[in-house]
């Protein structure tokens, strides 16, 4: 548990970066500080490991005040991950990872063993072990940065915009992997981001700060979307919050009736397709029954080839959120959203009216549980 007790930071008596912040980041949970630039979120984060000294107030780790601890000892208890990874360019990947373990007194051999294990945990093969940071992509460097913070097995972690320096595709992958990792390791984490989507996706608890460093709202992502505290929070969460809520409504098995979808495979003739088609569009799958795309029966001239497929439809994995299911429906050229199982095999399709019913059911359910 990390506790902020009326923590403030002023510079030269004039500008207030953080103003009387009081909150708790619960043990084993991921707390996200989010807000516009100048809201003091990074300052707040850096006051936890005293890279910045608070002007007043106290920060406690599991009830122990940090201001009386030796600063280096304090920092060694806390994993620290920053935006551009900040790897040591003159050290190899495993040497980088082993640093924090070495700082906490782990013998060299053991530290290197830990580093090799962590490399795999963050999704890098052992081939990377002896490379140097310049040989890695931004996403790979960030994975090493996370591994380095974990090597000393700290109870607490601070992450300053850890995923914002990479492209959106890699960012999504890193976020998903990090969520899986956190489910295993259950660290007490404070993460800073300016990206509300990231905050809602990753956070167990979201702390919204406003310009001037005051607290606007502390809530779970669902609460934040359902009941923003004021105009500022509502505005910051953005216009799409109705749609975003669907990200938290799980698409339960049986919640939306799956329609059986006739399928064809590559090489099928236009005649065959016309026989099985229920309308203009036929779903095409590979031999393992995994969807490949939609074929337009009307425009087909010869046997079905790869290039004939319309790939615009997204796939929703069974058990994913209603947001993904709705997206699958809206992006599908046939208007039928494709649902697949965990290993990518076709489960069936859903229609917009069925999804709308599920959304309505989820909405009334949610409102019903409100006090």
């Amino acid at each position: 548990m990390i506790t902020f007790d009326t923590v403030s930071k002023h510079y030269r008596g004039q500008t207030v970066a953080v103003d009387k912040l009081s909150l708790t980041a619960p043990t084993g949970k991921l707390t996200i500080f989010v807000g516009p630039s100048g809201c003091g979120k990074t300052t707040s984060l850096r006051m936890v490991n005293r890279l910045i000294a608070p002007s007043s107030g106290r920060i406690l780790l599991d009830g122990e005040p940090t201001d009386t601890m030796d600063v280096a000892v304090l920092r060694r208890k806390i994993g620290y991950v920053i935006q551009n990874a900040g790897l040591f360019p003159h050290r190899t990947v495993v040497q980088n990872i082993a640093t924090t373990a070495r700082l906490n007194g782990t013998p060299k051999d053991q530290a290197l063993r830990i580093a090799h294990d962590l490399l795999e945990r963050v999704g890098l093969s052992s081939a990377f072990a002896n490379r140097y940071p310049w040989q890695l992509s931004g996403g790979q460097q960030q994975r090493v940065g996370v591994a380095r913070a974990l090597a000393s097995d700290p109870k607490f972690m601070l992450m300053d915009e850890p995923f914002s320096a990479v492209d959106p595709v890699v960012r999504g992958q890193l976020q998903d992997e990090f969520l899986r990792l956190q489910r295993d390791i259950g660290k007490t984490i404070i993460m800073v981001t300016h990206d509300i989507d990231e905050a809602l996706k990753l956070g167990d608890q979201v702390v919204v700060l406003r310009t001037g460093g005051t607290l606007a709202q502390v809530a779970t992502p669902q609460e934040l979307l359902a009941r923003p505290a004021d105009d500022f929070v509502a505005d910051f969460i953005g216009r799409d919050r109705g749609y975003r809520v669907l990200g938290f409504a799980e698409f339960a098995k049986g919640g939306v009736p799956l329609g059986a979808e006739p399928t064809a495979t590559l090489g099928a003739t236009p005649e065959t397709l016309r026989q099985i088609a229920t309308d203009r569009w036929v779903l095409v799958t590979d031999p393992l029954n995994r969807p490949l795309g939609w074929a337009d029966v009307d425009s087909l001239k010869g046997p079905l080839r790869d290039g004939d497929l319309n790939l615009s439809g997204t796939l929703a994995v069974e058990g994913s959120s209603l947001r993904h299911v709705l997206d699958a429906v809206l992006s599908s050229p046939s208007g039928r959203g494709v649902i697949v199982g965990q290993s990518g095999e076709l489960m069936g399709t859903v229609t917009l009216s069925h999804v709308a019913e599920a959304i309505e059911a989820a909405r009334t359910g949610r409102l019903g549980t409100q006090p």
């Binding site: 890279l51 920092r75 900040g86 360019p89």
Partner: protein
């Protein structure tokens, strides 16, 4: 000149080429040692703390414009009464060489430390490294390429300028040039110049090899 070099009497003896090269290297080595002793800590301190940047930049420029020949004469006059024997000439010569070599070493070290990725330093601080560990585990090794480049230019300057020691009656390869001039022996002067040049190149090569061995391939990006 080939005739000069192929005369064996020019190579051996107390004023032979071998002896002069050794003397030259000793002056240069001592001067480089003291220049490092002064330039490295100042460069590291300024680079690490960011304090005194303007001061050392000004100092470096001022030192670069010192006329070495004038300075050595001045210092000999000043130190003449203080020291007995050869020290009255050796100390001024070394001081001049040190003053020449400090600016490139100091600026190279400062620039090297200042250029270290701030994110790496922030990470080092945030994970709980103490200031001296940050300096010696992160900043110094990352600054090595620029430190070596400062060291190389300092060494080149020292070796070429060490010839002026002969001007105040000391040894070294400058003897060949100064004496050659006095005796109107232009072959000997040319031989001296060629030897100074060759020595500078050899020492530069040696430092180059040293830098290759000590700088991490993570910085040179050479595997």
């Amino acid at each position: 000149m080939i005739a000069w070099f192929s005369d064996p009497t020019h190579w051996t003896g107390s004023d032979g080429v071998f002896a002069l090269v050794i003397q030259h290297l000793i002056y240069s080595g001592v001067a480089l040692f003291f220049a490092c002793l002064i330039g490295l800590p100042i460069g590291l301190y300024v680079g690490h703390t960011g304090r005194g940047v303007v001061l050392i930049a000004g100092l470096a420029n001022a030192l670069r414009s010192l006329p070495s020949l004038g300075l050595i004469v001045l210092l000999v006059i000043l130190f003449g009464p203080v020291f007995a024997s050869d020290m009255a000439f050796i100390v001024p010569s070394i001081i001049v060489l040190v003053l020449l070599a400090v600016p490139p070493i100091m600026s190279g070290t400062y620039a090297g430390v200042a250029a270290v990725d701030p994110a790496a330093v922030d990470a080092a601080r945030g994970m709980g490294k103490r200031p001296l560990d940050i300096l010696f585990d992160v900043e110094l090794p990352c600054a090595l390429p620029l430190i070596f480049s400062g060291l190389r230019s300092a060494t080149l300057q020292i070796i070429s300028t060490a010839t002026i020691a002969a001007y105040v009656s000391l040894g070294g390869l400058g003897r060949l040039i100064i004496d050659g001039r006095a005796q109107n022996d232009y072959y000997q002067m040319a031989a001296g110049a060629v030897l100074v040049g060759a020595l500078a190149l050899l020492v530069d090569l040696a430092i180059g090899i040293l830098s290759r061995l000590t700088v991490s391939p993570g910085l040179t990006r050479r595997l």
